[in-house]
Protein backbone atom coordinates (compact mmCIF):
# COMPACT_ATOMS: atom_id res chain seq x y z
CA UNK A 1 0.00 0.00 0.00
CA UNK A 2 1.40 3.39 -0.99
CA UNK A 3 1.54 6.39 1.31
CA UNK A 4 -1.19 8.02 -0.78
CA UNK A 5 -3.39 4.93 -0.44
CA UNK A 6 -2.85 4.92 3.28
CA UNK A 7 -3.83 8.56 3.46
CA UNK A 8 -6.89 8.04 1.23
CA UNK A 9 -7.97 5.00 3.21
CA UNK A 10 -7.53 6.99 6.35
CA UNK A 11 -9.73 9.79 5.03
CA UNK A 12 -12.44 7.37 3.90
CA UNK A 13 -12.17 5.53 7.16
CA UNK A 14 -12.50 8.73 9.14
CA UNK A 15 -15.50 9.84 7.09
CA UNK A 16 -17.16 6.43 7.46
CA UNK A 17 -16.56 6.45 11.18
CA UNK A 18 -18.05 9.91 11.38
CA UNK A 19 -21.13 8.76 9.46
CA UNK A 20 -21.47 5.72 11.68
CA UNK A 21 -21.29 7.93 14.73
CA UNK A 22 -24.10 10.21 13.57
CA UNK A 23 -27.02 8.25 15.06
CA UNK A 24 -25.25 8.03 18.42
CA UNK A 25 -24.39 11.71 18.37
CA UNK A 26 -27.92 12.66 17.43
CA UNK A 27 -29.30 10.50 20.17
CA UNK A 28 -26.87 11.97 22.66
CA UNK A 29 -27.83 15.47 21.55
CA UNK A 30 -31.48 14.71 22.17
CA UNK A 31 -30.86 13.87 25.80
CA UNK A 32 -30.11 16.78 28.09
CA UNK A 33 -27.09 16.25 30.32
CA UNK A 34 -27.94 15.49 33.91
CA UNK A 35 -27.57 18.22 36.50
CA UNK A 36 -24.78 16.21 38.11
CA UNK A 37 -22.83 16.09 34.83
CA UNK A 38 -23.26 19.84 34.36
CA UNK A 39 -22.20 20.59 37.93
CA UNK A 40 -19.21 18.24 37.69
CA UNK A 41 -17.95 20.12 34.64
CA UNK A 42 -18.33 23.45 36.43
CA UNK A 43 -16.62 22.06 39.53
CA UNK A 44 -13.60 20.96 37.47
CA UNK A 45 -13.25 24.54 36.23
CA UNK A 46 -13.67 25.93 39.76
CA UNK A 47 -10.98 23.52 41.00
CA UNK A 48 -8.73 24.80 38.22
CA UNK A 49 -9.44 28.38 39.36
CA UNK A 50 -8.47 27.52 42.94
CA UNK A 51 -5.25 25.84 41.79
CA UNK A 52 -4.39 28.92 39.71
CA UNK A 53 -4.96 31.32 42.64
CA UNK A 54 -2.96 29.12 45.01
CA UNK A 55 -0.08 28.92 42.54
CA UNK A 56 -0.13 32.69 42.02
CA UNK A 57 -0.32 33.42 45.75
CA UNK A 58 2.71 31.23 46.49
CA UNK A 59 4.73 32.58 43.54
CA UNK A 60 6.29 35.46 45.47
CA UNK A 61 5.64 37.69 42.47
CA UNK A 62 2.81 39.82 43.88
CA UNK A 63 2.83 43.22 45.54
CA UNK A 64 1.55 42.90 49.16
CA UNK A 65 -1.66 44.84 48.53
CA UNK A 66 -2.48 42.67 45.56
CA UNK A 67 -1.91 39.47 47.54
CA UNK A 68 -4.51 40.55 50.09
CA UNK A 69 -7.13 41.17 47.41
CA UNK A 70 -6.41 37.85 45.71
CA UNK A 71 -6.67 35.97 49.02
CA UNK A 72 -10.16 37.40 49.46
CA UNK A 73 -11.13 36.26 45.98
CA UNK A 74 -9.64 32.81 46.63
CA UNK A 75 -11.84 32.52 49.71
CA UNK A 76 -14.89 33.13 47.52
CA UNK A 77 -13.70 30.55 44.98
CA UNK A 78 -13.44 28.03 47.82
CA UNK A 79 -17.06 28.87 48.69
CA UNK A 80 -18.09 28.10 45.09
CA UNK A 81 -16.25 24.78 45.22
CA UNK A 82 -17.88 23.89 48.54
CA UNK A 83 -21.37 24.68 47.27
CA UNK A 84 -20.87 22.70 44.05
CA UNK A 85 -19.47 19.74 45.99
CA UNK A 86 -22.42 19.78 48.38
CA UNK A 87 -24.86 19.88 45.46
CA UNK A 88 -23.13 16.95 43.78
CA UNK A 89 -23.17 14.94 47.00
CA UNK A 90 -26.89 15.62 47.37
CA UNK A 91 -27.37 14.29 43.84
CA UNK A 92 -25.40 11.16 44.79
CA UNK A 93 -22.67 11.90 42.25
CA UNK A 94 -18.93 11.33 42.57
CA UNK A 95 -16.79 14.43 43.03
CA UNK A 96 -14.21 15.13 40.33
CA UNK A 97 -10.66 15.93 41.44
CA UNK A 98 -8.45 18.18 39.35
CA UNK A 99 -4.73 17.58 39.90
CA UNK A 100 -2.06 20.16 39.04
CA UNK A 101 -1.15 18.24 35.88
CA UNK A 102 -4.82 17.96 34.90
CA UNK A 103 -5.12 21.71 35.53
CA UNK A 104 -2.23 22.35 33.11
CA UNK A 105 -3.93 20.18 30.49
CA UNK A 106 -7.22 21.97 31.07
CA UNK A 107 -5.56 25.35 30.58
CA UNK A 108 -3.96 24.18 27.33
CA UNK A 109 -7.26 22.73 26.12
CA UNK A 110 -8.89 26.11 26.70
CA UNK A 111 -6.05 27.96 24.96
CA UNK A 112 -4.85 29.76 28.07
CA UNK A 113 -1.31 30.68 27.14
CA UNK A 114 0.12 31.59 30.55
CA UNK A 115 0.72 28.23 32.25
CA UNK A 116 0.92 27.50 35.97
CA UNK A 117 4.65 26.87 35.64
CA UNK A 118 5.57 29.84 33.49
CA UNK A 119 4.73 32.79 35.74
CA UNK A 120 7.48 35.44 35.60
CA UNK A 121 5.94 38.56 37.14
CA UNK A 122 2.72 40.03 38.56
CA UNK A 123 1.49 40.82 35.07
CA UNK A 124 1.66 37.11 34.13
CA UNK A 125 -0.09 36.17 37.36
CA UNK A 126 -2.98 38.55 36.77
CA UNK A 127 -3.21 37.54 33.11
CA UNK A 128 -3.55 33.89 34.14
CA UNK A 129 -6.21 34.70 36.74
CA UNK A 130 -8.19 36.87 34.32
CA UNK A 131 -8.15 33.98 31.85
CA UNK A 132 -9.30 31.41 34.41
CA UNK A 133 -12.04 33.77 35.62
CA UNK A 134 -13.22 33.92 32.00
CA UNK A 135 -13.33 30.12 31.97
CA UNK A 136 -15.38 30.14 35.17
CA UNK A 137 -17.79 32.69 33.69
CA UNK A 138 -18.09 30.50 30.60
CA UNK A 139 -18.71 27.36 32.65
CA UNK A 140 -21.57 29.00 34.54
CA UNK A 141 -22.92 30.59 31.36
CA UNK A 142 -23.13 27.13 29.78
CA UNK A 143 -24.50 25.48 32.91
CA UNK A 144 -27.38 27.97 33.28
CA UNK A 145 -28.76 26.82 29.92
CA UNK A 146 -28.46 23.13 30.79
CA UNK A 147 -29.46 22.76 34.44
CA UNK A 148 -33.00 21.63 35.19
CA UNK A 149 -33.20 22.47 38.91
CA UNK A 150 -34.22 26.13 39.49
CA UNK A 151 -32.30 26.31 42.76
CA UNK A 152 -29.10 25.19 41.07
CA UNK A 153 -29.75 27.72 38.30
CA UNK A 154 -30.03 30.52 40.88
CA UNK A 155 -26.83 29.42 42.56
CA UNK A 156 -25.07 29.39 39.18
CA UNK A 157 -26.39 32.84 38.22
CA UNK A 158 -25.22 34.26 41.56
CA UNK A 159 -21.79 32.60 41.25
CA UNK A 160 -21.42 33.78 37.65
CA UNK A 161 -22.07 37.34 38.82
CA UNK A 162 -19.32 36.94 41.40
CA UNK A 163 -16.86 35.60 38.78
CA UNK A 164 -17.69 38.59 36.58
CA UNK A 165 -16.91 40.89 39.52
CA UNK A 166 -13.59 39.09 40.09
CA UNK A 167 -12.78 39.57 36.40
CA UNK A 168 -13.48 43.28 36.71
CA UNK A 169 -11.42 43.64 39.89
CA UNK A 170 -8.45 41.80 38.38
CA UNK A 171 -8.56 43.97 35.27
CA UNK A 172 -8.74 47.08 37.44
CA UNK A 173 -5.55 45.95 39.21
CA UNK A 174 -3.87 45.02 35.93
CA UNK A 175 -4.90 48.20 34.11
CA UNK A 176 -5.48 50.90 36.75
CA UNK A 177 -7.57 53.86 35.65
CA UNK A 178 -8.76 52.12 32.47
CA UNK A 179 -12.36 51.38 33.23
CA UNK A 180 -13.15 50.50 29.64
CA UNK A 181 -10.93 47.45 30.15
CA UNK A 182 -12.55 46.48 33.46
CA UNK A 183 -16.16 46.51 32.25
CA UNK A 184 -15.80 46.42 28.48
CA UNK A 185 -18.83 44.45 27.31
CA UNK A 186 -22.57 44.72 28.02
CA UNK A 187 -22.95 40.93 27.76
CA UNK A 188 -20.69 38.68 29.83
CA UNK A 189 -20.38 35.15 28.50
CA UNK A 190 -16.82 34.23 29.48
CA UNK A 191 -14.70 31.78 27.53
CA UNK A 192 -16.06 28.43 26.37
Amino acid sequence: MTRRQVVQTGIVGTAAAALLRVPDAAAAGAVAPSDSAVLARTLRIEQLVVIAYERVLTSGLLAPGVSGQLRTILGQEHRHVAVLERALRELGAALPRTSDSAAERLLAAHHVHVGLGSLRDQHDCLKLLIDVESLAEGAYYASISKLSDPGLMRTSIAAMGCEAQHWTLLNAIQHPGKLYRSVPYPFVQGSP
Partner: protein, 188 residues
Protein backbone atom coordinates in the same frame (compact mmCIF):
# COMPACT_ATOMS: atom_id res chain seq x y z
CA UNK B 1 -34.67 63.41 41.81
CA UNK B 2 -37.18 62.21 39.28
CA UNK B 3 -37.37 61.74 35.57
CA UNK B 4 -41.01 62.80 35.61
CA UNK B 5 -42.22 65.47 33.20
CA UNK B 6 -43.69 67.12 36.30
CA UNK B 7 -40.26 67.50 37.82
CA UNK B 8 -38.83 70.93 38.44
CA UNK B 9 -37.23 72.67 35.51
CA UNK B 10 -33.67 72.13 36.75
CA UNK B 11 -34.14 68.38 37.01
CA UNK B 12 -35.78 68.32 33.64
CA UNK B 13 -32.93 70.26 32.08
CA UNK B 14 -30.34 67.96 33.57
CA UNK B 15 -32.34 64.97 32.45
CA UNK B 16 -32.61 66.30 28.92
CA UNK B 17 -28.94 67.16 28.88
CA UNK B 18 -28.08 63.68 30.06
CA UNK B 19 -30.55 62.30 27.54
CA UNK B 20 -28.52 63.84 24.75
CA UNK B 21 -25.47 62.11 26.10
CA UNK B 22 -27.44 58.92 26.38
CA UNK B 23 -28.31 59.03 22.70
CA UNK B 24 -24.64 59.27 21.82
CA UNK B 25 -23.90 56.52 24.30
CA UNK B 26 -26.65 54.36 22.80
CA UNK B 27 -25.09 54.63 19.38
CA UNK B 28 -21.67 53.84 20.78
CA UNK B 29 -23.09 50.97 22.81
CA UNK B 30 -24.90 49.49 19.85
CA UNK B 31 -21.94 49.68 17.53
CA UNK B 32 -19.67 48.19 20.18
CA UNK B 33 -21.97 45.36 21.12
CA UNK B 34 -23.64 44.61 17.82
CA UNK B 35 -22.30 41.08 17.29
CA UNK B 36 -23.43 40.02 20.75
CA UNK B 37 -26.77 41.72 20.40
CA UNK B 38 -27.27 40.07 17.03
CA UNK B 39 -26.30 36.79 18.63
CA UNK B 40 -28.93 37.28 21.32
CA UNK B 41 -31.53 38.24 18.74
CA UNK B 42 -30.83 35.49 16.22
CA UNK B 43 -29.56 32.62 18.29
CA UNK B 44 -32.21 32.29 20.97
CA UNK B 45 -35.73 30.95 20.83
CA UNK B 46 -38.26 32.79 22.97
CA UNK B 47 -41.67 31.50 23.97
CA UNK B 48 -44.74 33.66 24.46
CA UNK B 49 -44.88 32.67 28.12
CA UNK B 50 -41.51 34.34 28.66
CA UNK B 51 -42.74 37.77 27.56
CA UNK B 52 -44.06 38.89 30.94
CA UNK B 53 -40.80 37.95 32.68
CA UNK B 54 -38.72 39.73 30.06
CA UNK B 55 -41.06 42.72 30.35
CA UNK B 56 -40.50 42.93 34.11
CA UNK B 57 -36.74 42.79 33.60
CA UNK B 58 -36.98 45.46 30.89
CA UNK B 59 -38.86 47.73 33.29
CA UNK B 60 -36.00 47.46 35.78
CA UNK B 61 -33.42 48.16 33.08
CA UNK B 62 -35.38 51.26 32.08
CA UNK B 63 -35.51 52.35 35.71
CA UNK B 64 -31.72 52.03 35.87
CA UNK B 65 -31.38 53.96 32.59
CA UNK B 66 -33.47 56.77 34.09
CA UNK B 67 -31.25 56.73 37.19
CA UNK B 68 -28.01 56.91 35.22
CA UNK B 69 -29.39 59.54 32.85
CA UNK B 70 -30.54 61.81 35.66
CA UNK B 71 -27.59 61.07 37.94
CA UNK B 72 -24.61 61.47 35.63
CA UNK B 73 -24.69 65.31 35.62
CA UNK B 74 -24.48 65.25 39.43
CA UNK B 75 -21.43 62.95 39.59
CA UNK B 76 -17.76 63.90 39.91
CA UNK B 77 -15.73 63.40 36.78
CA UNK B 78 -14.20 59.92 37.30
CA UNK B 79 -17.48 58.48 38.53
CA UNK B 80 -19.38 60.25 35.75
CA UNK B 81 -17.12 58.66 33.15
CA UNK B 82 -17.80 55.20 34.60
CA UNK B 83 -21.53 55.89 34.81
CA UNK B 84 -21.60 57.04 31.19
CA UNK B 85 -20.08 53.72 30.16
CA UNK B 86 -22.54 51.80 32.31
CA UNK B 87 -25.45 53.76 30.86
CA UNK B 88 -24.45 52.73 27.35
CA UNK B 89 -24.37 49.11 28.53
CA UNK B 90 -27.76 49.40 30.22
CA UNK B 91 -29.12 50.73 26.93
CA UNK B 92 -27.67 47.69 25.17
CA UNK B 93 -29.37 45.43 27.74
CA UNK B 94 -32.65 47.22 27.17
CA UNK B 95 -32.26 46.81 23.41
CA UNK B 96 -31.55 43.10 23.74
CA UNK B 97 -34.56 42.53 26.01
CA UNK B 98 -36.79 44.46 23.60
CA UNK B 99 -35.54 42.28 20.74
CA UNK B 100 -36.28 39.13 22.71
CA UNK B 101 -39.81 40.30 23.57
CA UNK B 102 -40.50 41.10 19.92
CA UNK B 103 -39.10 37.73 18.92
CA UNK B 104 -41.73 36.06 21.13
CA UNK B 105 -44.45 38.07 19.41
CA UNK B 106 -44.81 40.56 22.24
CA UNK B 107 -44.62 44.33 22.27
CA UNK B 108 -42.09 45.84 24.64
CA UNK B 109 -43.43 48.52 26.95
CA UNK B 110 -42.14 52.04 26.47
CA UNK B 111 -40.29 53.59 29.40
CA UNK B 112 -42.61 54.93 32.08
CA UNK B 113 -43.20 58.67 32.15
CA UNK B 114 -41.61 58.91 35.58
CA UNK B 115 -39.49 56.89 37.95
CA UNK B 116 -39.03 57.44 41.67
CA UNK B 117 -35.33 58.19 42.01
CA UNK B 118 -35.48 59.91 45.40
CA UNK B 119 -33.66 63.22 45.87
CA UNK B 120 -29.91 62.57 45.71
CA UNK B 121 -27.76 65.66 45.40
CA UNK B 122 -24.22 64.60 46.25
CA UNK B 123 -21.81 62.32 44.41
CA UNK B 124 -22.14 59.67 47.12
CA UNK B 125 -25.93 59.86 47.14
CA UNK B 126 -26.12 59.38 43.38
CA UNK B 127 -23.67 56.47 43.54
CA UNK B 128 -25.78 54.91 46.30
CA UNK B 129 -28.90 55.31 44.15
CA UNK B 130 -27.18 53.63 41.18
CA UNK B 131 -25.89 50.84 43.45
CA UNK B 132 -29.42 50.24 44.73
CA UNK B 133 -30.82 50.18 41.18
CA UNK B 134 -28.18 47.64 40.13
CA UNK B 135 -28.98 45.54 43.21
CA UNK B 136 -32.68 45.64 42.35
CA UNK B 137 -31.92 44.40 38.87
CA UNK B 138 -29.63 41.64 40.13
CA UNK B 139 -32.20 40.43 42.63
CA UNK B 140 -34.80 40.22 39.86
CA UNK B 141 -32.45 38.45 37.44
CA UNK B 142 -31.51 35.79 40.01
CA UNK B 143 -35.17 35.16 40.81
CA UNK B 144 -36.59 35.34 37.28
CA UNK B 145 -34.01 33.78 34.97
CA UNK B 146 -34.85 30.23 36.16
CA UNK B 147 -38.48 30.92 35.18
CA UNK B 148 -37.52 31.41 31.52
CA UNK B 149 -38.22 28.33 29.45
CA UNK B 150 -35.53 27.84 26.79
CA UNK B 151 -32.08 27.14 28.21
CA UNK B 152 -30.24 29.38 25.78
CA UNK B 153 -32.55 32.25 26.66
CA UNK B 154 -31.62 31.79 30.34
CA UNK B 155 -27.92 32.02 29.49
CA UNK B 156 -28.43 35.03 27.24
CA UNK B 157 -30.20 36.92 30.01
CA UNK B 158 -27.62 35.77 32.58
CA UNK B 159 -24.99 37.46 30.39
CA UNK B 160 -26.81 40.75 31.05
CA UNK B 161 -27.04 40.02 34.78
CA UNK B 162 -23.29 39.35 35.01
CA UNK B 163 -22.54 42.73 33.43
CA UNK B 164 -24.81 44.41 35.99
CA UNK B 165 -22.81 42.59 38.69
CA UNK B 166 -19.68 44.22 37.29
CA UNK B 167 -21.37 47.64 37.45
CA UNK B 168 -22.24 46.96 41.08
CA UNK B 169 -18.61 46.11 41.95
CA UNK B 170 -17.33 49.38 40.46
CA UNK B 171 -20.07 51.47 42.10
CA UNK B 172 -19.33 49.90 45.49
CA UNK B 173 -15.63 50.61 45.01
CA UNK B 174 -16.40 54.24 44.15
CA UNK B 175 -18.40 54.41 47.39
CA UNK B 176 -15.41 53.13 49.35
CA UNK B 177 -17.08 49.77 49.96
CA UNK B 178 -15.78 46.23 49.36
CA UNK B 179 -16.39 45.76 45.63
CA UNK B 180 -16.95 41.99 45.91
CA UNK B 181 -18.35 41.35 49.38
CA UNK B 182 -19.95 37.97 48.70
CA UNK B 183 -19.23 34.78 46.78
CA UNK B 184 -22.80 34.87 45.45
CA UNK B 185 -24.25 38.02 43.87
CA UNK B 186 -27.94 38.00 44.70
CA UNK B 187 -28.73 41.72 44.81
CA UNK B 188 -29.37 41.63 48.58
Amino acid sequence: MTSSPEADSHSRRTLLAAGGGATVALLAGCSGSKPLRVKVRNGVTVQSGDVSILGALLDLEQHAIAGYTAGIPLLDRPAAKAAQQFLSQELAHSGALRDLIRKAGGTPEKPRTSYDLGHPTTNAQVLALLRDLENAQLSAYVQMIPLLTPGRLRSAVAAISANDAQHLAVLRQELGQNPVPSAFVTGH
